[in-house]
């Protein structure tokens, strides 16, 4: 049995898929269990740990203060313009998560994922005012979101999006005080420790869902082996108004419009579950923090 799987992986899968089941026991539309925990890294300003089956991603947010750039007229809410970004995502996929990656240089997969997530993080609709350091907004917080993949078993896109969402929900920013000393010297920045830390108001939820096409079967939430054997990958991210934030199809075979529509439908159906998941993980953490304080 195992030999058959190693020698003819595609045939092996076919035998299962004909019976609408996958080798790991899931149905074609079934996804793996998602675990999200937040606030596990104390040295960061916000952190989260996401597990989808065996795929695990840890995210940490680092906040830095810098002068707010002066807004120029032509760069309002632009799509590709990266000048006004206040959040930066970096994805690390080292040899710890899979033997296909080397430690020397970042893999193509990590880089393209990084690029997608960087444009996706701007779709979160976080108001500029949320990131003001002082009241006037002369200085702002810049958030660096670092994602480390610890175990790679497929569907990294979904894990990363969920990790970003939950890490940002976990971010606590102190209020700042700017003390202008003199014209020549740079003003001094202090954190106001007396006032409570505030958390970010995130405008929308992102609902990610990845599918693969394997032998004309559409598989939800693929594992690494399924991704390797697949002929195409569809990644969809909706916001909570069901507008498409990312729709990426790459693969060596073509895809029909019908399957695309099917995928979009399936993603929509899952939205409430994902929203609950993110909300729950954040509320439980808040409660536990309160308990600790008491």
């Amino acid at each position: 049995m195992e030999a058959f799987q190693k020698v003819h992986p595609l045939e092996f899968y076919k035998k299962f898929l004909e019976r609408s089941v996958r080798p790991d026991g899931r149905g074609l539309d079934c996804f793996r269990k998602i675990n999200i925990s937040t606030g596990s890294i104390m040295t960061t300003d916000g952190s989260s740990f996401v597990k989808i089956g065996n795929t695990s991603v840890i995210a940490g947010v680092k906040a830095e203060v810098a002068l707010t750039p002066t807004q120029s007229d032509n760069s309002i809410s632009s799509n590709n313009n990266n000048n006004n970004n206040k959040m930066f995502v970096n994805v690390e996929m080292g040899p710890i998560c899979s033997n296909i990656f080397s430690s020397s240089k970042p893999s193509e997969k990590a880089m393209s994922l990084c690029s997608q997530l960087n444009s996706l993080v701007n779709r979160l609709e976080i108001n500029d005012k949320e990131l003001y350091f002082d009241d006037q907004g002369k200085y702002s917080w810049y958030l660096y979101i670092d994602l480390y993949c610890l175990d790679y078993n497929g569907n990294l896109m979904d894990a990363c999006v969920l990790a970003i969402m939950s890490a940002l929900k976990n971010v606590k920013l102190p209020k700042g005080i700017v003390v202008e000393s003199s014209a020549s010297e740079a003003p001094q920045l202090f954190k106001d420790t007396e006032q409570p830390m505030r958390s970010l108001n995130i405008g929308t939820y992102l609902i990610p869902q990845t599918f693969v096409l394997l032998n004309d079967y559409l598989l939800t939430d693929p594992s690494l082996e399924e991704e390797k054997l697949s002929s195409g990958t569809i990644s969809i991210t909706f916001n909570d108004r069901f507008e498409i934030c990312t729709l990426l199809y790459t693969g060596i075979t073509s895809i029909s419009e019908k399957i695309l529509e099917q995928c979009l439908e399936k993603t929509k159906k899952r939205s409430t579950e994902i929203i609950n998941l993110i909300d729950n993980c954040c509320t439980t953490i808040n409660n536990s923090n309160n308990n600790n304080n008491i």
Partner: protein, 329 residues
């Protein structure tokens, strides 16, 4: 380099279409296009501009009148609504396409593809030995794409583009024919004025054809930008990309199947599928152009006096464009 012929573009216009259109200015054309059941018109204004009696550059202007666009802007059907674009294009018009093949000596195939000011050079080597043994595939050849931007180092954005181009190109190459080999595709951007991924994919297709690599069909790509007031612009420039609400890149093969699609920004679901239909129509035109460019290179240009060129320079392109502008306005 005299043997390297310039692939000249000439798409046969509908009978009487060209003369009629040339007499009208853009606004008149607009009126005509917005008439009730205007079919899909392939409007071609081809120019041959001879410089020092040697060089020929030809342009085509492709017009698409999908009904969807009309329906969307029906609330404000004044004649000027569609000409909102900075370069006087209509929302459903792509920039003049220009191409040149076999301009590199060493490469097995090469092509330059320009859409307006976006210009890309693609070179193809292969099938050759696999350089890194761990990449080698037993049953098929490996397609390796490297994407180099016009200025600066390759960033992770370029790596993503590289991945998109590779996926699109790999889908049309018959990789099973040459197991344990590698096909290298090198993409060098000359100038980036929007729709650069589409331009790169189109260039790769032409270069692969030039290299004589077995393909199962042609591929063409188009970028659409979705504006904040729900207009769809075909083939956006960099400025239009920056000011858009969403962007979608479609790569569609000549069987009219989606091979690669990628969106950024926020796009409504129905708009996306509207865009898909428009993309399918326009990709057909780009494929038609590619076919013609290859045919003209191999069989010679029968419609125009055949000329050979040694090189093309940018000034030439600019001048002819100016002429075109004057002509249309």
């Amino acid at each position: 380099m005299n043997d390297k012929r310039r692939a000249c573009l000439f798409i046969q216009p509908c009978k009487g279409q060209t003369e009629r259109d040339r007499e009208k200015d853009v606004n008149d054309r607009q009126l005509e296009n917005s008439s009730a059941n205007a079919p899909l018109i392939l409007d071609v204004v081809a120019f041959g501009l001879s410089i020092v009696g040697l060089c020929f550059v030809e342009f085509s202007r492709l017009f698409f009148i999908p009904t969807t666009i009309k329906e969307m802007s029906s609330t404000t059907t004044t004649t000027t609504t569609n000409i909102k674009r900075d370069d006087t294009r209509l929302s459903n018009q792509i920039r003049p396409i220009e191409s040149e093949q076999a301009l590199l000596n060493k490469a097995d195939g090469s092509a330059k593809f320009s859409q307006g000011k976006s210009s890309v050079l693609a070179a193809v080597y292969g099938p050759i030995d696999v350089k890194t043994a761990r990449k080698e595939k037993i049953s098929k050849s490996v397609v390796d794409v490297s994407f180099t931007p016009a200025t600066g180092n390759t960033t992770y954005f370029d790596k993503e583009r590289e991945m998109l181009v590779r996926n699109a190109v790999e889908s049309i190459i018959l990789t099973l024919l040459h197991p344990r080999t590698q096909i290298n595709v090198i993409v060098q951007v000359y100038s980036n004025d929007g729709s650069i991924i589409s331009c790169a994919i189109n260039a790769c297709c032409l270069a692969l054809l030039d290299a004589g690599i077995e393909l199962n069909c042609l591929i063409s790509s188009i970028t659409l930008s979705f504006t904040h007031d729900n207009q769809i612009y075909l083939d956006p420039t960099q400025k239009e990309e920056n000011n858009s609400k969403g962007l979608a890149v479609y790569a569609i093969n000549s069987k009219s199947e989606i091979v690669m699609t990628k969106t950024t920004g926020i796009i409504g679901e129905s708009l996306y599928f509207q865009g898909l239909n428009i993309a399918k129509q326009s990709c057909e035109k780009v494929s038609a152009y590619t076919r013609l460019a290859v045919r003209n290179r191999i069989m010679g240009d029968q419609t125009q006096p055949s000329t050979t060129t040694t090189n093309t320079n940018n000034t030439l392109v600019e001048e002819s464009k100016d002429k075109e502008m004057k002509d249309s306005s």
